[in-house]
Amino acid sequence: MEHHQSKSFPISHVIGFVVSLALTFAAAGIALKTNLSFKVIMWIIGSLAVVQAGMQLFMFMHLREGEDGKTNLVNMIYAVFMVIVIVVGSIWVLTSGHAAH
């Protein structure tokens, strides 16, 4: 890892850091400085959090690097798929039709 970093200026880390700061301040600004409804605020800052988490996986967590890069990516996509199926699926099933009442 060390020789890897010394080879060139870590431009992706700097970009990642700046973008992370921007996204964080954006979330803080929307939450504290706007008069949007609670629900809208939650949706916006939740989405920003997901964007930031995804960005950090690429910029800091070396998701695609190394010999296992492709595997990692497939694993992440699979994990996201499973989360959507289990969480969103359960909520959908349990809150539609008679089941909700």
């Binding site: 699979y78 798929f81 959908w92 099933v93 349990l94 539609s96 039709g97 089941a99």
Partner: protein, 658 residues
């Protein structure tokens, strides 16, 4: 702790009293027999502490056969009870307990360990490895499964069986409606066995990804290895859901939480939802390896490469993906609304597509093949039409609207028996006949095998075919009796007669094992079926290090091509190197025992005792963490001696077939 000793042993039922006496006598007989034959040390060093994947596999298979007997007895009792209308052989409570344990045992303690046993024996051999990736973890998997299975099995003589169905739906399974401890057995025993299964899944993913021999790329793996790989991924994806659901159930029943109890603000439907989020993939966890076994058997005995290898792989992946998004078809009638039901109807019907692709691939594999009708092949041949009946009725049930008519009837029961018996039981029998010589160095008798086959298949069809029609006529499932006016009596009687034929088939199977152990020819080839994959390139029974020299793979069906080109079959002295193997360990069986004890206390809600036993679990974890045993090296001389014993002097593969 408020121990109710008077409720400890189940009393007052002659059937159960008989079982208690039988269990006691069997245990005394086993202990006395082992002591008399001075086999304790052999048992301990060769089996109980082993980390050898082949021996672990054999122990899985023995447990599975025993559980098959237990689950089968439950089935026969149910068939006896419903043979005539208004029978008073079993009361309703006893009937509830029996269909519950029948379901749990057949799925989790028969189908799963039978397949995992075959996976254990075969997979490292098929990929040219010397063991699984984590041999000691593998032993731990087995002992946790065994511990869970035994804990579940004692429920009918100690404490009382679970009685809320194998699905254990809330609110029935909750403390409010099932106040006894029976359902605690369900929650705790399945949890313990589930930990073992999850570890197996992880173990086989790593084994298959990391330990394939030189040249075996993913697309050169045998089909059974592929299906095991995908099954392992499904295990890792699905079993944690069950773990969580069971943990919530345990909290509800033992510690008064209200995750699923409606009266306490919980959501009973969440249990059904979580159960089937695991339960549907579970169906494919048992079906996929079975498909793999059929692929191996059909290719070998058609003497051709598997037709459509790539489409086979993509169908498996497609089935695995779809299996995660169909779970609601198990509870359409709970009223989840038209959008949900339509979505899940479509995904469910879509599964028929990749399954159909596989069916045609098997048929095309046989086309123009020089088919050898062996016992193993007979099971594969019978699988095709029987499973298609199960599959087509499955598509009928898949339609949410139509399901309102079929649900909760014997039509459904007949459907899933038509899927699971051809899809899993036929497969494990095919696999057992096929791989038996590799495990033990002799073959199961083919003639008795054919008796086993015909009795079992005819019995199976006579038992379950009438249940389709009973179901369509309105006979509900899980009902312990019916009136004479219903007109169900003749078909129920036919079904009961079928179950006796089925049981006779199983008895012949047991007799075949006995006969073959005593009389079968020991002087057989290491490749008696003229097979295609690497497990047949080494000795039978397989030497503990599997391969003296790791084989190199250049194509699909590598052993077939090695035989054709006559390369890679010989072993020169210069090629022998020391082999590094893992040491035996007592930790896995200790963990199995201590988990069983802790689980038992937890079932009886003796919390302090359970906590003390819990310390024993942590002790085992700590001991394992400080275990620096690096295994041992097999010396060249010993390898030389073992290899010379089964190879001819020139070093060829021994090819005598009796």
């Amino acid at each position: 702790m408020g121990i109710k000793w008077d409720e400890f042993f189940i009393t007052g039922d002659p059937l159960i009293l008989g079982s208690q006496i039988a269990i006691l006598l069997t245990m005394i007989g086993a202990v006395a027999g082992i002591t008399y034959l001075k086999k304790w040390k052999y048992l301990w060093t060769e089996w109980l502490t082993t980390v050898d994947h082949k021996k672990i596999g054999i122990m899985y298979i023995i447990s599975a056969v025993l559980m098959f007997f237990r689950g089968g007895m439950d089935g026969l009792l149910m068939k006896a009870q419903t043979a005539r209308p208004e029978m008073e052989f079993l009361n309703s409570q006893h009937y509830n307990e029996i269909f519950t344990t029948h379901g749990v045992i057949m799925i989790l303690f028969m189908a799963m360990p039978f397949l995992i046993g075959l996976m254990n024996v075969v997979i490292p051999l098929q990929i040219g490895a010397r063991d699984v990736a984590f041999p000691q973890l593998n032993a731990l998997s087995f002992w946790l499964f065994f511990s869970g299975a035994m804990l579940f099995n004692i429920s009918f003589v100690i404490g009382g069986s679970p009685d809320a169905g194998w699905t254990s739906y809330f609110p029935l399974a909750g403390k409010e409606f099932s106040p006894g401890i029976g359902n605690n057995f369900y929650a705790v025993a399945l949890q313990i066995a589930g930990i073992g299964t999850l570890m197996t899944g992880i173990n086989f993913i790593v084994t298959i990804l990391k330990m394939r021999t030189k040249g075996m790329t993913l697309m050169k793996m045998p089909m059974f290895t592929w299906t095991t790989f995908v099954t392992s991924i499904l295990i890792v994806a699905a079993f944690p859901i069950f773990t969580v659901a069971l943990a919530l159930m345990t909290f509800d029943r033992l510690y008064g939480t209200h995750f699923f109890t409606v009266s306490g603000g919980g959501m009973d439907m969440l249990w059904a939802n979580l159960f089937w989020l695991w339960g549907h993939p579970e169906v494919y966890i048992v079906a996929l390896p079975a498909f793999g076994i059929f692929s191996e058997v059909i290719a070998t005995f058609s003497r051709k490469s598997l037709f459509g290898y790539k489409s086979m792989v993509f169908s498996i992946l497609g089935i695995a993906l779809l299996s995660m998004v169909v779970w609601v078809h198990h509870f359409y009638t709970m009223g989840s609304g038209p959008a949900v039901n339509s979505f899940f109807s479509i995904t469910t019907m879509a599964i028929a597509i990749p399954t159909g692709v596989k069916m045609f691939n098997w048929l095309f594999t046989m086309r123009k093949g020089r088919i050898k009708i062996t016992s193993a092949m007979l099971w594969a041949l019978a699988f095709v039409p029987c499973f298609v009946i199960g599959g087509v009725t499955g598509v009928m049930l898949a339609m949410g609207a139509a399901d309102y008519q079929y649900h909760n009837t014997l039509f459904l029961v007949a459907h899933f028996h038509y899927v699971l018996i051809p899809g899993v039981v036929f497969a494990v029998f095919a696999g057992l006949y096929y791989w038996w010589p590799k495990m033990f160095g002799f073959m199961l008798n083919e003639k008795i095998g054919k008796w086993h086959f015909w009795l079992f298949v005819i019995g199976f069809n006579v038992t379950f075919m009438p249940m389709f029609f009973l179901g369509l006529n309105g006979a509900v499932r899980r009902a312990y009796t019916y009136s004479a006016e219903s007109g169900f009596a003749p078909l129920f009687m036919l079904s009961a007669i079928g179950s006796i034929v089925l049981a006779a088939g199983f008895a012949v199977f047991c007799y075949n094992i006995y006969w073959s152990i005593r009389y079968a020819d020991r002087n057989i080839s290491s490749d008696p079926w003229d097979a295609r994959t690497l497990e047949w390139s080494t000795a039978s029974p397989v030497q503990f290090y599997n391969f003296a020299k790791l084989p190199e793979v250049k194509s699909l069906d590598p052993f077939w091509h090695m035989k054709k080109k006559n390369e890679g079959l010989t072993l020169h002295d210069s090629e022998i190197e020391e082999i590094h193997m893992p040491s035996n360990s007592w930790v896995p069986i200790y963990m199995g025992v201590i988990f069983g004890i802790a689980g038992f206390f937890l079932v009886f809600e003796w919390h302090i005792a359970a906590a003390v036993a819990g310390i024993g679990i942590f002790a085992g974890l700590i001991i394992r963490s400080f275990d620096y045993n690096e295994g041992f090296h097999v010396k060249k001389d010993e390898i030389h001696r073992i290899e010379n014993a089964w190879r001819k002097t020139e070093g060829e593969v021994h090819d005598h077939v009796s």
